[in-house]
Symmetry: C2
Subunit: 319 residues, 2 copies
């Protein structure tokens, strides 16, 4: 079976770890990773979501943190601070730096991000094929109004530095309109037996992947059933600050509203948490098959159970 | 008093630390640093000699090693190895990496190396004005013949990877012929009251500085006396493998031969070690005032004594 998953960072990566446990030997998983939160720091190209997936599935992730490397040291960051070179708010450890140095060097040598990601994964052996959504530069910016007036800041600045404490007025995936899907993305979607939307941020993670021209249409018209898992449980994001960016696109922070935001043209099935069982009817009325099951990724077995249910629902809607 | 010193790496840096102790309050030291051993590694511009001077005088040097940072960590290098990205033979620690990242970022932003060096020194406060010999790229290559045939390798590869174990057939300062002295170099030489050649490598350190068109002529024609200290003691380099590169330029590894290599047009005074007292006559016959004094930089006081003697000899030849 060929499974395609679109993924953001921590939530997506943890779901994928469960999915790997849930699939049968011989099944192939292709992950189309969000690159909208990529950022250029210290002259280096940093791809937080791709790296979180790669480190998590490859065994190098800092487990408690959910991002960055295990057994990390912070000498480079200390020195940057001593040189007065910022930003200080973005946490890049020494081991993580090495990834960005290798990536930047390869990109400078002319390799597209998809080839670089494949090369990095040669080391990490994540057990999935990880493809960035695009080789073109896309950067999600967030429009905010604060003491400095109304302005757009990089998504990482909004999320990491400002902790999404200011309202997001608009989400702008800069460059997405002219970006092309990376080689292999449309082919994987077309050849998929199942397409999964993990419980990642529907706006700035999966939404950005879908914003690359051609990808949303390919997913919506794919022969494979498309099943998503709600990142909203009990009216709040399980982790992160999705409510802030959902508000920016005029969507309520509920499991049903997110399903409707994706839309019945895209989604065939939708899983909500058992605590949101009363949302099932509304989602089904929108034309999307829905089930309420436990959706807390407390550990790998619980996550694998979620993935199995998603695959079952896919089989069910396939008929 | 305005003192100008040309300097290479470890030997030059250690001499400068003694010189700082030897001068009077208010004296100004300008260091013209060799950049011929600069190398691009991992997409970063690395300036080993400039950094050795900056770290040594700024209190950040790894004392025993003589190069690199104190309290260094090696996570980035470990990760590079795990990614299979070389070269492995060049030792870049995490703290050192930060310097190269800041430098590379500033150079990418359009700043010349001299401005970048000044910015880095803002942090280190080396107590001297450190100017690279040139803002233009100059890289010393060494012609060798080994199992792979006759070829030119970067000086760092010859020195660090091959440990100068193969004979150097020629020393080629690639780019030196079209390089221009960095802003301030010629002005500092012209305005100097004393010009010192520390016991650095006469070929690949000080020789490379002098190879930048205009610098040798400026030093030779400067109003200030020019006094050098022999890096050769008892027929062998005090440290490093200067004998190998001296042989490549047809110069014997003796204190007298090095003085004659610099030439009486350049040097007004020359210090040899007490163990080389029999060289004094030959050096003076070449038209260079010479004294034999202890030249082992065993500690800062001993080095300061050498610097004081050099300044005294300069006063003497000035007349």
């Amino acid at each position: 079976m060929r499974i395609v998953a679109l993924a953001g960072g921590i939530g997506g990566a943890r779901f994928l770890r469960g999915l790997k446990e849930a699939v049968a030997p011989g099944d192939e998983i292709t992950v189309i990773g969000n690159t909208g939160d990529d950022i250029h720091l210290f002259g280096l190209k940093v791809c937080p979501d791709l790296d979180t997936v790669m480190y998590t599935l490859g065994g190098g992730i800092h487990e408690d943190q959910g991002w960055g490397r295990a057994d990390e040291t912070w000498s480079v960051k200390e020195e940057m601070k001593a040189y007065g070179v910022g930003p200080e708010w973005f946490g890049l450890g020494d081991r993580d730096f090495a990834t960005h140095i290798v990536r930047t060097q390869m990109i400078s040598a002319g390799y597209p991000l998809s080839a670089v990601t494949e090369a990095l994964c040669d080391r990490w052996q994540p057990g999935v094929r990880l493809i960035p959504m695009s080789d073109d530069r896309v950067e999600t910016h967030v429009r905010i109004t604060d003491g400095q007036g109304t302005r757009a800041v990089h998504f990482q600045e909004y999320w990491v530095r400002l902790h999404a404490a200011v309202d997001a007025e608009a989400i702008i995936p800069v460059g997405a309109d002219t970006a092309k899907p990376a080689p292999g993305v449309l082919e994987a979607v077309a050849a998929a037996d199942v397409i999964l939307l993990p419980p990642s941020n529907p706006v700035v993670s999966i939404g950005t992947v879908l914003a690359v021209p051609g990808i949303r249409q390919a997913v919506a018209s794919a022969a494979a059933p498309v099943v998503g898992l709600s990142p909203i449980v009990g009216g709040a994001p399980v982790r992160g600050m999705a409510d802030k960016v959902l508000a920016a696109v005029g969507v309520d922070t509920t499991a049903e509203a997110v399903a409707r935001y994706y839309g019945a043209d895209l989604l065939d099935g939708w899983l909500v948490d058992t605590s949101d069982a009363d949302a099932v009817q509304g989602v089904e009325e929108a034309g999307i098959r829905c089930r309420a099951v436990p959706l807390m990724m407390t550990d790998v077995p619980a996550t694998a159970a979620m993935a199995r249910t998603a695959l079952e629902l896919a089989a069910e809607v396939r008929g």
